[in-house]
Amino acid sequence: MTATHASQIIDGYLKRLDSELSSFPTARRKELEAQIAEHIAQARQELPAETDADLLTILDRLGEPDEIAAEARASLDITTTTKPGPVEIFALLLIGVGGVIFPILPVAWVLGTGLVWRSRAWTPREKYFGAYLPLVVGLAILVISALASGIFGRHLLLEVAFLGFVIANLLMPLGTAIYLAARLGRRLPILAWAAIAIIAVSVFLPAAAAFIPARASAFIATPFGEPGLTPGPGGPVCKGFYGTVRYASGLPIEATAPVSVGICWDGNTVTKSWGPDCYPNYGPALRVQVQSCTVESLQDGSMIISIQSSATATTAPFFGQSGGMAWRITPDGHITQL
């Protein structure tokens, strides 16, 4: 018989064993698989001439993979875990992304841990180190942070407290969810992984985008279709000012707060002919709001155009940034960003 055929038979057997042992702790699974593979190799060495029948006898004497797995479960005292399902997926999402959606109190983390407690897809050890212990430590950090910011209220302590909130409310549950997900590993079908990944990305991406510093740009151009902007010779020049504040600039989820003002200048003063118009553009991930949008004339004849806006992650309303942006137009029609 050919070597390929033999290795196909053995590979098939080891694959079946691997899937029978999928709920085992990794170290146990690897050790047992190595032992069985060595057994087969050693048994083959002792054969004078290998035939298909010989090989099948070796495997037959070893026993069916499910028998070996059952014996291992009994003698190694391995807690039988069940196949993960919607409950486990929901628990992972609650723990992993709950802190981003609602970071004030770890409600989702606690609820998700409750589901983990009810689940039989994780071993008691995994639950203890992967779910209960992090939750207790996280809650302790939150309480200490709250006390530090509430009672003492000093600036430095506030920063320490903020760090505590970030660690205990975001990083720890996220780490916990990743660990618990990794323990489920291949027992969760690939489609379920894809769904989790899509939900996680769509929650985290906007939250992360809220941290990208906003960028601004502006230019002066002849506005499209604006009447009365063609002055006579020697008169003032009238054009449009177009400024834009960009959140998550350059990404496909970019959202903007644009401002446009009609301006005229004659070398001595800048005056407003229309505007200012500020209409925020929502992106899929960021919600932009304009708080104020003003035009102000200075003593030296120049003009200040300012816009105060904020962007909030659509999936995580507590994540966002706000900022003011201002430009100065000098009487000779030049822009300086302030």
Partner: protein
């Protein structure tokens, strides 16, 4: 139906007794000398009625190793790759000694009672 359940109970009991005794048989074999996996399994399989599925020996060896009654080491082989050998530890010898004396008492007690009922 009732009889079937009873029969299953009995095979379950025998399997449990076999599993319980098997680990001391492994220790007894290793007490004479260290052996590699396939060799150990073959030695056990030579005795009729002791091993039904050879693959189930390996979880047992792992448990014995975890309990500190057996230790493993690698040794080069004249033919082929290095082999994982199993060796009994002092704790393993102690456990074997304890089982030996308990077992002979248990065996003669059961034998006495079974014979009296004939």
């Amino acid at each position: 139906m009732h009889r079937m359940v009873r029969a299953e109970d009995r095979t379950g009991l025998i399997a449990q007794m076999r599993r319980g005794a098997l680990e001391y048989c492994v220790l007894a074999l290793l007490a004479t000398r260290e052996r590699y996996g396939f060799e150990l399994v073959q030695n056990l399989a030579e005795v009729d009625g002791m091993v039904i599925t050879e693959g189930t020996i390996y979880p047992l060896l792992t448990r014995l190793r975890k309990d500190g009654e057996v230790e493993t080491f690698w040794r080069e082989s004249s033919s082929g790759p290095p082999r994982r050998y199993y060796r009994i530890t002092a704790a393993g010898r102690e456990a074997l000694k304890g089982f030996r004396s308990e077992w002979s008492r248990f065996r003669s007690a059961v034998d006495t009672l079974l014979e009296s009922g004939r």
